[in-house]
Amino acid sequence: MTTMTESRNLTGTSAVEIDDISKVFGRGRGAVTAIDGMTVHVGTGEFLAVVGASGCGKSTLLSLIAGLEEPTTGAVDVGGHRVAMMFQEAALFPWLTVGANIEVPMKVNKVPKAERRRRVTELLALVRLSGFERKRPHELSGGMRQRVALARALAQDADLLLMDEPFGALDAMTRDILHDELERIWREKSLTVVFVTHNVREAVRLGDRVVLLSSRPGRVIKEFTVEGERPRRIDSGQIAEQAATITDRLREEVSRHA
């Protein structure tokens, strides 16, 4: 029970520094500015939630942090952190068993076989899927697949986890339980998380801070520091109140595009 009140050692250093970046897709008249003048810093060990309406460049932001794309101007610095990424779909390899899926990133990192087996067992226990090692992805439920995807992401030995609406396709009950699970693993593994979502309540439930983005182009409108001891309950009054403030601001932004 002590872990619940223990303060995490936020040293104040940044895991991710995004300084005044812009990202333009295409050239000439057809060009689209996805992100314009965005500055975001993510502290080491912080859980940052990012919300915004469609076209706010959330996914582009994650691709830039992951180094899958280069910003048009400005710089993204992840200071040597190892990055893993999760999507709305688990994107597991259907021809591999659960265990073999988790081994894939370790094979990339040339981890020896015995060590891989050991880590698979450990990671499956972490996501509470011990005993499912030999199942195939299609034999699991959506929530279980996402937990395998989380184990696979952790098998990359990453300490910076980027999540692109990872629970968007799950039912409310499963999502609720996975919030608890993600929070627990985030603490246990001292991860830094950037969590992108459409769901304001989910953002307030999980985030230390919530960054609200504008749409077309994406830009930071406002940052909110979330109040309330962890673990929070998504149905608590405190969450609802803070979510309402952010939702109001988000609606304002959306009506600007009418």
Partner: protein
Amino acid sequence: MPETDVRDRQVQGLDALELQPERGADERGAGDVARGIWASTWPKLAAVAIVLLAWQAVVWSGWRTEFVFPGPDRVLPALFNEITDPEFWTAVQVTMRRAFVGFALALVVGVVVGLAVSQFKPLRAAIGSLITGLQTMPSIVWFPFAMLLYGISESAIMFVIVLGAAPSIAGGLTSGIDYVSPLLLRAGHVMNLRGVQRYTLLIVPAALPMFVSGLKQGWAFAWRSLMAGELLVIINQQNSIGWALSQARQLNDADRLLSYIIIVLVIGIMIDVFFNWADRSLRRRWGITR
């Protein structure tokens, strides 16, 4: 500790509920299994019976004399005579060896061409549609040219088998690679799958089901080309199914002729069953169908 315990039970309870089948299934006893086997066998037996009956009916109608169109009562004993004759088995052996060697050659050529086409854009633009065009060509038109190139020899037959089968194999491979889910490609990308590992761990297994469909189609073309080849390119005194067929025709031995036709049909069905089995077990493993 109690906290984690409660959480553990919640998660496991949810998993158990999600994994429970929505509909119950009947328990299957020995009798049910036997009934299942019977249910899948009797239509096949019935089909054979219908064919034999229809065949016999045509013979009875007197459409042709029994000398050129014998009924099952004469062909089936002839067939039995053949399959107990060692000569017959050498013929089958020669033909099957040609089929497998030709198919293996086509496999090598098809894989090399398929990989090259899927890798280099200009090459695809240049010969992509040529491959599709080749697939539509009746392979028999290649035989005169093949005989000019290689003479009356097995090489001529191999040449046509490769031309018939390789395009399907190459086509299956390229479309398999083309249709690897972008989702999986993205997942591979963020896991830093690069170079050879990208192929061994992601692209090849993902493309496998379509590749097997290409193989199956390629086999069908190879088998047809081979049969046409053995009838056209008659290598003297070398026993093979094709040779036996043309011998039987020259000797007006309709019983033997028909029994070899049945053999060709049976071999075709057996290989088809094999490919269907491979295709189905792959798909089940990949979770495409259950």
